[in-house]
Amino acid sequence: MLISVLLGLFVACLLVPFGHFFRDRKSLLLALVPGVIFLYFIQKLPAISSGQVLFESKNWVPALGVNLGFRLDGLSLLFVLLISGIGTLVFIYASSYLKGHRYLDKFFGYLLLFMSAMLGLVLSNNVLLLFIFWELTSISSFFLIGFNNEQEDSRRSALTALSITGLGGLILMAGLVWMGAIAGSFSFGEILNHASAIKGSKFYPYILALFLFGAFTKSAQYPFHFWLPGAMKAPTPVSAYLHSATMVKAGIFIMARFTPVLGGTEMWKWTLMIVGGFTMLYASILSLTKRDLKGILAYSTISALGILTFLLGIGTSHAIIAACVFILVHALYKAPLFLVTGIIDHETGTRDITKLSGLGKVLGPVALAGGLAGLSSAGLPFTFGFIGKDLIYETTLHLESKWGWYLTGLAILTNVGLVGAGLLAGFKPFMGRVREELRGVHMPSPLMWVPPLLLALLCVLFGWNPEWAGANLAEPAVKGILQKYVAVELKVWHGFNTIVILSLATLGIGVILFLLNPARLKSTPLVSFLESLRPGVVMGRMFVYFKRFATAYTDYFHDGYLRSYIIKMILFAEALLIYEIYRGGPFTIDFSKFSSIHVYDVAIIAVLLGALYKTLKTSSRLTAVVCLSVIGYAICVLFVVYSAPDLAMTQFTIDTLTVVLFVLVLYRLPPFLKFRSRKVMLRDAIISVVFGMLLSIICLRVLVEPARYNISDFYAKYAYTLGKGRNVVNVILVDFRGFDTMFEIVVLSVASIGVYSLLKLRLKSSEKE
């Protein structure tokens, strides 16, 4: 299994350097990859359908409990076969559809990446691994949706899709991590074992919310569905692959996978039923009003996903069976419809159904494929779609509560829409007279029409003969979801019962709706109401507000003025210090510990403070410099008095040099600016004085802290005997702490080089970097 997942990744990587080999017909070879995988997994079918679950595991990041653990059960197998099977066909189709495209090799690269991600997702037996693949599907689909990257629409759709699914992914991650935290492991098996602990945890609602948020975004449930119609900007094979059969189903898959872990609770049930129910109805109605073939298909897909969510929400074994079958049903008819749409688009240059008619005469086999798939979608008896629909009604009708009938009604309404949509997409373009401008349409290469036809034929095949699919595909899948055996016996004909009546009624109303030209629905109040519910627009607007807020916020904090930054920083510092000083409580000062004040002390400090005062007040720069040097000299004398001759010397020479520096630099500068706003000055004064006071208080507190451990005794002892110097400060500087000195001279050198380059280097405006 690992190899099958890695195969696609590996080939995709190979395509980066060797892509140019596959830019022409040779690209067909790439279909071998999904083909081989399909064959590999189909041979596992007997084992799985007999109820086995295959495991495979390889250590990867054991510290996090992430191993390359794979699990092949019925549910995975169902998806794997869809992914690889439809994948093979899509690959074949695409090699012809995108023939000669300059990025053909990259297209296949992304597609392979996507396929591997999907395979990994459905196979993984570890929630983090699952999540890794989940994100990979988002990313690879980003590249696929934005494949026509020169078009702005395409790029925007890709970005929207990635944003929605990406956000969902991150939120899902939080949910998964929490789940893992409760279970103590990220292995799916362990999590399954802790299902009751998770459900019983007080965090369950949050975990569920996070989880479902992720699942809903990916499976395009209302109100996150809007990215999906947008994603139709992708080349049609992508739509067929991602948006019918696979990626959107990832959301469904994960809900199915976690049903035993999170499902079964009221919260789960109602959330899924409400969201799914609303989505399915909403999308199915809207699908009828679209003129773009892909739009119709997109909305009907959303509707189908709604149905699946709805069914998972109901969660009875009937519902699960219905869901499993419907996954297969939907994939089998939706993929050919997309592929057919692609052919139409490719050959006629339009997808507008009002501009398409009579194509059946020029595109015979294509019409056959489209028609059969459309019929399956409509749920005509003896197509696989009929069976799917059948099971849905069976589910709702079997519900014991009074809700059963309401839900059945809901399902009927939805299905009526889907019938219409299926016919619109599968029949409408092929019926009627050939339009003048469509007469010159040619049949495409068989590589393009055979795949949809094959799938359409499968719809019929399974429709006639559902037992095999039921027993071999659906039954193990149901077991995979429910973790228990439930017999799935699909029959073409159950006898004439309520369900059949409902199915036929659905079909009938759908056909009538189709014939009445559903585009007219557009003007009905219901549709305009539904159309007015545009979460995409709302979210877009919210995003605009969000951005506006972000701008305001950024402009407030990062307003470009240095002093405003300093003020904010100082206020922050003061807040912290005040809090800490307040917390530290009162303290007493032992004045006897302090040395007495001499006359010279007073003189030094008086001069220092006087000069400081003048520095602050003067409006002449030079006076400020003079005063600053007085401050320096006062400090120098202070150092002399308090036993630091080295410091005094250094302070004095450096001070003198600073004066020289100032003098050399400053003489061309204008006098100080005077921006005298009393308010501002007062504010700044208060801020600064508070800061100064805090520092004073802190100093006092440190001074009353009793005697310290004296490391200098060591220096005093060894400065001469080992350091061979009498001036302990110098011995510290060149020996004990010579490293400080060594690198402080580096600071000096760098500063001087900086000055040198700052003054001498003038880049010409043409020079960059």
Binding site: K547, V702, R708, V747
Partner: protein, 499 residues
């Protein structure tokens, strides 16, 4: 036992810088020296890491004075891994600079100062003495001032004024903190301080002292509300410089914060909560900034701020898991952010601009480079299994354990905005068709193959590193696990230093 390998990287970069100063204005020689030194630095860093990984904490008593009397250099797993990662990043930048830096800048000391900067970073990681750390910080900031202003364009200098003023403020806080620390303990050796801090009678002083360190390092690492210098300046210098800054400078602040707040100070609940709140605001601030900027380097700068929040949040939660996440994130972030700014430089060479409105068409013309860049971009986002993914799991797990839900939310939203911004950038810069603006010019195309190789290979190298980190996360997690053990149980560190 003292071991000179510890300061191997420091010495190599020092010698390189001195040699380059001796070869003043001989740019070719400087380039060779730079790349050689960076490579030797990498080897030395690998050797150090290998030693520490296998035999535990190493120390070196500078000038042969035992701690706490002399300056001690300590290589524990944390510092030696940072040295290693720094060596990788600096090798990349050095190679990139050899072709990507204007010759005029090389004539005025670009390379020696770059090596001084790298030396400073290594010194800061390795020193076990708080005042020596201050000296290293000063080496770093003066070098960064010079690199930031080298070339003297208007925007550069304007940014530099703010950068300088606020960084000097940071140094002031730091130095004040050291003064207070010396006042209450009489020691400067970090291990010694770790022993002495609890014995200070008035513990409130210890807290006050820690606030100064928080402020000083907070400014360095661009934590809200101390981050202002970063978005004011990082978009101005040449890209190779911005890469060094973006990748490494703020991270030294983070390193220092981790070191000080795990070894010397033990944060109380108030401080932890404060860190968490700051982290949340940092993330939010960064992501807002990133969202609204159109210039690549401007939003990269904001992203730096945003992701600093992740790491500070990890420290704030202060559990092993949280710190594992933060440290892992730190490793990832250094490599990726460095690479991001190199990429920004590459983009400017390809198009002559950094404004996403003017950019476009790179994917069409340079598909392979574009794909490599995509890989880097998405590893920044943390798309699994690339390097940014793993630490987030730890962070979220810790968020759950410590009930830091808001922080977890901020991490998620921050990651989302990162994703959005990066995807938008990809779409605008690479996918969009080339702009017809006359300011757009491709200087890359005309370059010699060697130059092209010099420009692209560092990006590829760092890209491979982050992919490897992602794929072999197990190893990194083991390392990170041991690092956090060292942080939680400081006794071995103290024993190694004080003997």
């Amino acid at each position: 036992m003292t071991d000179n390998t510890i300061i191997g990287t420091i010495i190599i970069h020092l010698l390189a810088a001195v040699l380059q100063l001796a070869f003043w204005r001989k740019t070719k020689a400087q380039r060779y020296i730079s790349v050689t030194a960076a490579f030797l630095g990498l080897l030395s860093a690998i050797a150090l890491f290998y030693k520490v990984y296998h035999s535990g904490i190493l120390i070196m008593n500078a000038a042969n004075w035992r701690a706490p009397f002399g300056i001690v250099f300590v290589a524990d797993l944390f510092s030696s891994s940072l040295v290693l990662i720094t060596a990788l990043a600096s090798l990349a930048v050095s190679v990139f600079s050899a072709a990507g830096i204007n010759r005029a800048r090389m004539l005025y000391g670009y390379f020696p100062i770059f090596h001084f900067l790298v030396m400073g970073l290594n010194g800061a990681f390795l020193t076990g003495d708080i005042f020596n750390l201050y000296v290293w910080f000063e080496v770093i900031i003066i070098s960064s001032f010079v690199l930031m202003t080298l070339g003297g364009r208007k925007a550069q200098l304007e940014g530099a004024v703010k950068y300088m003023a606020l960084n000097i403020l940071a140094s002031t806080f730091f130095l004040t903190g050291i003064g207070i620390m010396y006042g209450i303990t009489g020691s400067l050796n970090m291990a010694d301080l770790a022993l002495r801090m609890p014995r200070v009678q008035n513990q409130s002083l210890v807290h006050l002292c820690s606030i100064f360190f928080l402020l000083g390092f907070g400014i360095k690492s661009a934590v809200f509300p101390l981050y202002f210098w970063l978005p004011s300046s990082y978009h101005t210098p040449p890209s190779a410089v911005a890469a060094t800054f973006g990748g490494l400078l703020t991270k030294v602040g983070i390193y220092a914060m981790f070191r000080v707040f795990t070894l010397i100070f033990t944060p109380d609940d108030d401080l932890k909560n404060l860190l968490i709140v700051l982290a949340i605001f940092t993330i939010v601030t960064g992501m807002f900034g990133a969202l609204i900027k159109d210039n690549i380097r401007r939003f990269f700068s904001s992203l730096i701020v945003c992701h600093i929040g992740f790491m500070v949040g990890g420290l704030g939660m202060y559990t092993k898991v949280a710190m594992m996440g933060a440290v892992f994130y730190l490793f990832h972030d250094i490599l990726v952010k460095t690479n991001m700014f190199l990429i920004a430089g590459l983009i400017r060479l390809l198009r002559g601009s950094m404004n996403i409105k003017l950019l476009g068409g790179i994917y069409r013309e340079y598909p392979k480079i574009s794909l490599v860049i995509a890989l880097v971009l998405f590893s920044l986002v943390g798309i699994p299994p690339l390097s940014g993914f793993w630490p987030k799991i730890y962070l979220l797990e810790a968020g759950f354990d410590t009930k830091s839900y808001v922080l977890s939310g901020a991490i998620i939203i921050g990651s989302f905005i990162t994703l959005f911004v990066i995807a938008r950038m990809w779409s605008e810069v690479f996918w969009k068709e080339a702009s017809a603006d006359e300011r757009i010019q491709d200087t890359f195309k005309a370059m010699s193959p060697t130059k092209k190789l010099l420009l692209v290979s560092p990006v590829v190298m760092l890209c491979i590193c982050s992919v490897l980190i992602g794929l072999d996360a197990q190893f990194i997690i083991e390392v990170v696990d041991r690092i956090t053990d060292e942080m939680i149980n400081t006794a071995p560190y103290i024993r190694a230093v004080l003997g």
